[in-house]
Symmetry: C2
Subunit: 321 residues, 2 copies
Amino acid sequence: MAVYTDVSDDDLAAFLEGYDIGAPLSCKGIAEGVENSNFLLHTSVGYYILTLYEKRVDVNDLPFFVGLMEHLATRGIVCPQPVRNKLGESLGALAGRPAAIVTFLEGMWPKRPDARQCGMVGEALAKLHLAGSDFQMKRANALSIDGWQPLFDAARTRADEVLPGLAPILAGELAHLRTCWPKGLPSGVVHADLFPDNVFFLSGKLSGVIDFYFACDDAFAYDLAICLNAWCFEPDASFNLTKGMALLSGYEGVRELDDAEAAALPTLARGAALRFLLTRLVDWLNRPEGALVKPKDPIEYLKKLRFHQHVAGAREYGLSR
Amino acid sequence: MAVYTDVSDDDLAAFLEGYDIGAPLSCKGIAEGVENSNFLLHTSVGYYILTLYEKRVDVNDLPFFVGLMEHLATRGIVCPQPVRNKLGESLGALAGRPAAIVTFLEGMWPKRPDARQCGMVGEALAKLHLAGSDFQMKRANALSIDGWQPLFDAARTRADEVLPGLAPILAGELAHLRTCWPKGLPSGVVHADLFPDNVFFLSGKLSGVIDFYFACDDAFAYDLAICLNAWCFEPDASFNLTKGMALLSGYEGVRELDDAEAAALPTLARGAALRFLLTRLVDWLNRPEGALVKPKDPIEYLKKLRFHQHVAGAREYGLSR
């Protein structure tokens, strides 16, 4: 959750004068999103999400994110749509920060996803991969394998504060993945953060996907591996094979994995687990005094990593071949 | 800001089945309120605030708060209205906590209140005092002078962590106020926490008052003294006499202070400053690791207290006689 920046009523009113969406009626900071400040904005015209982009987001990436959301919508993916101001711009400035207004999506994210929802997420992820195939902008994944070493370096000396012996485990995993990280897999635009809190459901259907602020170009199967980690484990860190089967068959109902992708899935799942373990670890060790953000538990992802280390093939995740 | 408790989508749907306000469409934790978890709830019928009452609120007080909001509305005060469930109850249970749904009020609270807004708040406070005069339930003010000693005792040994020499300042002020705290002033239901974030404005008018969870029986002029502290100081802790005049004349336009109230105002303002200084100090010293609540600065109220210690009479706050 995050609201880092306060917006004064006067500043908001002035900002909205640049748009054609009426005058502000209410604007409440919401406890969603970790990277940015988000507000649920009601104007005389409707409901919107106002986002102020905080330091962790590179302003040079914003046109990619905003352009992607617009592109995906034209391909039938339900996601927030940037609202353009009177000058035709979808990015402005408010309270000293880059700011955007996007449409409000109804729906609720599942606190305890079930297998049916995992299936729908798999399907949505595959559709997203196909829909992004003709998006022209590119963004490298700063949090893929080349980005993990600097994260590890930042956490190495203090990793034992979280769990004694954690640093050598991370070093070993990183060394292993460097020897076998797959190359040349089918790639394109991936969401790269499709956790349950970024997927809304309404009346038993998937109603929308939000938070494209990690989206980038990478292997599609890596995106799927992130979802296996995020959706298919139980709170006790056990892997739920039924959910894995649902996620993978939902995905393959739209886009079939090729043999190289299927073979790489255990390695990609290890990498995905390590990626979230490392970023959570760095966040944990650097949580600011009095911060409004509750850091997520890194150890959850160590447990997932340990599971993947013993997986011999994608069948163990529920792949049907 | 506060969202302490997560509500699962299933639990929410089940809870709403007890009400006649349709099915949930979205439910977002909002960064408002310090004592409770608040959610902006959209159902197929409309917009509501869902509140889960956390530990710091005594469940035995809830009927008072809920009853007061209903009473004030019948007297023309715009405030959130409890929604009763199919059994006619305005209090239920959700996620293991007492829970209530209230109507959503449009409007925005002023981050930098101006004198005109101070005038409107004074007027609203007086109307609230009159509107509460025939409310039948009673609730003692646990945070009046008798409640300050235990707060001081809880903070005494560690007060110097916040500012060296703070403990003797607090002890001296407490001793002083015990000698001269006024008795027998006109009393009734007071809001007791009418800070800017609890007052909404829309199109230049005061549109509603929220957060009655400190409301209690106490001297009306003490409530006014709380507002002088909360509305009439600048960020540099200087007292803005124009705002003070506006607040007091706004109040007196509806309900005139008697001579005893006017004479007691400097003492009441000192007490109000000490009350928020003490609660903020205790919160500051006891902020939990990883908490989602950013504790408020106690020293802001020490500066206000020091101002009041040099006030000789209510004219210095802007009272016109």
